[in-house]
């Protein structure tokens, strides 16, 4: 009986992964700008959510919690990276190539580069608003902050993009 239950759970995890991993991976990639990091974050999110959502009454809520978990994990990633990056800069051990995937650096257009240079919370808010098409209230829910903060993050992020792009052009 226990074996049957375990098999059913594994099957369910596989179904959830097949249904939701692609969307979660795209979100994680747009937030982090790094495909390898995005893949790690999504896999970690599935591991963390699996146990907690075994008894989920409303399966429709899974992608919502997955999205929130991915954003939270990305935030933790950036926090670790920020200190590590400063350490590397100080030590001069290796150049830091920015938040993006070095392999894809050559074909980045200027707006993508400018987006990746935004503070991570501004970028996350913009991705949730304009890629995920979430409302400001939903974005606030995912990011765990007030709606006013989302408005401010998006406004400042877009303003910074405009300023950065116009200065590059000039």
């Amino acid at each position: 009986m226990a074996g049957t239950t375990a098999q059913a759970e594994v099957g369910r995890l596989g179904e959830l992964y097949r249904a939701h991993a692609p969307d979660a991976l795209r979100l994680a990639y747009l937030v982090t700008g790094n495909a390898a990091v995005a893949e790690d974050l999504v896999q970690e999110a599935f591991v963390r959510l699996y146990g907690r959502f075994r008894d989920l009454r409303n399966p429709g809520a899974f992608p919502w919690y997955l999205r929130r978990t991915v954003v939270n994990l990305a935030r933790s990633h950036f926090r670790r990276e920020r200190v590590a990056r400063a350490y590397v800069r100080r030590e001069g051990a290796m150049p830091w190539a920015g938040g993006g995937d070095p392999a894809q650096g050559a074909d980045r257009d200027e707006m993508w580069r400018a987006l990746l240079e935004l503070p991570e919370r501004q970028r996350t808010a913009i991705v949730l608003r304009y890629y995920e098409d979430l409302t400001e209230a939903q974005t606030a829910e995912v990011m765990g902050c007030p709606v006013g903060t989302v408005k401010s993050l998006v406004f400042r992020g877009l303003a910074r993009l405009r300023v950065g792009l116009s200065s590059e052009v000039s």
Binding site: E9, V10, L13, G14, Y17, R18, A21, P22, A24, L25, R26, Y29, L30, A35, A38, E39, Q43, F46, V47, R48, Y50, G51, R52, R54, D55, R57, N58, A61, N72, R79, R82, V83, R85, A86, Y87, R89, R90, E91, Q104, D109, M111, W112, L115, P119, E120, R121, Q122, I126, V127, Y130, Y131, G144, S152, L153, R156, L158, L161, R162, L165, S166
Partner: protein, 331 residues
């Protein structure tokens, strides 16, 4: 001028850079299985040791009765059920009065997302941890995996500010929370917190020696960069240091950038003077000279802060070896 549409188009296009293999990776499957096995073992231990309420929850789920009462089509008041709903309001959160709770119930019945979360115990407790207790995230002991948690009218569970089952969590907060459906005793009833006791666990200090000069300089750079960016600097601070900045103690201002509390100041640069480490408490002090420009007509100026870095606990519950433990301002 770029528009929001340009950003949207860019994101949609860039999202196609990555493709997920539809097959679940073996390592994810393995870790998920391991986690299930681990939590199955820990749930009993956690429930018994840390949460008597959760333990009776398990008993109730298994048909043993106890302080947690499963739903019944025709519930009859007994010593083990929640008190009759008309004997006075005992909810602590999120509604302070019965009328407010009844309004929230009606709102949830309408399917309004602003209230519907209060029907699901997991969403409800997550919000309690993050909104009421101020945690960055909320984690449950795995007793919540027993049966259908929403089939109860009362649940006592321990929630944590850190994922104690999967992470080392050197320091974390926890709360023993009793939740009850006070307005309606069925799966559509909203939950209310009726009892809570909180505590925290602090493990061994992360390190007992001062951080290296390079580590301190890296931490200063990251901290100052966040202050200049106008966000994210809080994650470097201990509770004490954060309180000093938030109260502008001795003229301290955390931000000099686009943040609302930047007071018109803009950080344009900084210099670091290493004052040295203290082997007794593992701390390292630095003096930072901050160069400022101001919105408006005020001329550029400089200000000095003395910061103490070292191993300790962050205001958000985590721990680090280069936490800003103390801050002294120019005044």
């Amino acid at each position: 001028m770029r528009t929001e549409d340009d950003v949207r188009d860019l994101l949609i296009g860039r999202a196609e850079d990555v493709r997920a293999d539809p097959r679940i990776p073996a390592r994810v499957l393995g870790r998920a299985r391991h986690r299930r096995a681990l939590t199955a073992g820990l749930s009993v231990a956690t429930a018994v040791v840390l949460s008597a309420g959760a333990w009776v929850g398990i008993r109730a789920a298994l048909g043993g009765g106890g302080g947690v009462t499963p739903l019944d089509p025709s519930p009859s008041p007994s010593a083990t059920t929640a008190p009759p709903v008309d004997t006075g309001w005992k909810g602590l959160w999120p509604q302070a009065t019965r009328q407010e709770a009844e309004d929230a119930q009606a709102c949830a019945d309408d399917g309004d997302p602003a209230c519907a979360w209060q029907v699901d115990i997991e969403a409800f407790l997550e919000r309690y941890g993050t909104e009421e207790l101020g945690w960055e995230a909320t984690y449950f002991d795995e007793a919540l995996d027993v049966g259908e948690p929403n089939d109860f009218v009362a649940l006592a569970l321990t929630i944590y500010s850190c994922d104690v089952l999967n992470d080392p969590c050197p320091g974390y907060d926890f709360a023993d929370v009793r939740s009850e459906r006070l307005v309606r005793h069925d799966p559509t009833g909203i939950w209310s917190v009726t009892e809570v006791s909180t505590g925290n666990v602090h493990g061994d200090p992360p390190e007992a020696f001062p951080p290296s000069e390079a580590e301190v300089l890296a931490a200063v750079d990251a901290f100052m960069q966040a202050r200049q960016d106008g966000e994210g600097a809080e994650v470097f601070l201990s509770t004490e240091a954060l309180a000093r900045y938030e109260s502008n103690h001795e003229g301290l201002h955390l931000y000099g950038g686009p943040a609302p509390d930047s007071d018109g100041r803009i950080i344009v640069g900084w210099e670091v003077n290493l004052l040295g480490g203290d082997p007794d408490d593992g701390s390292y002090s630095v003096e930072i000279t901050i160069h400022l420009e101001w919105l408006g007509d005020s001329p550029p100026s400089t200000t000095r802060e003395t910061l103490v870095f070292g191993p300790g606990y962050l205001a958000d519950g985590g721990a680090g070896t280069t936490v800003v433990l103390g801050a002294e301002g120019p005044d």
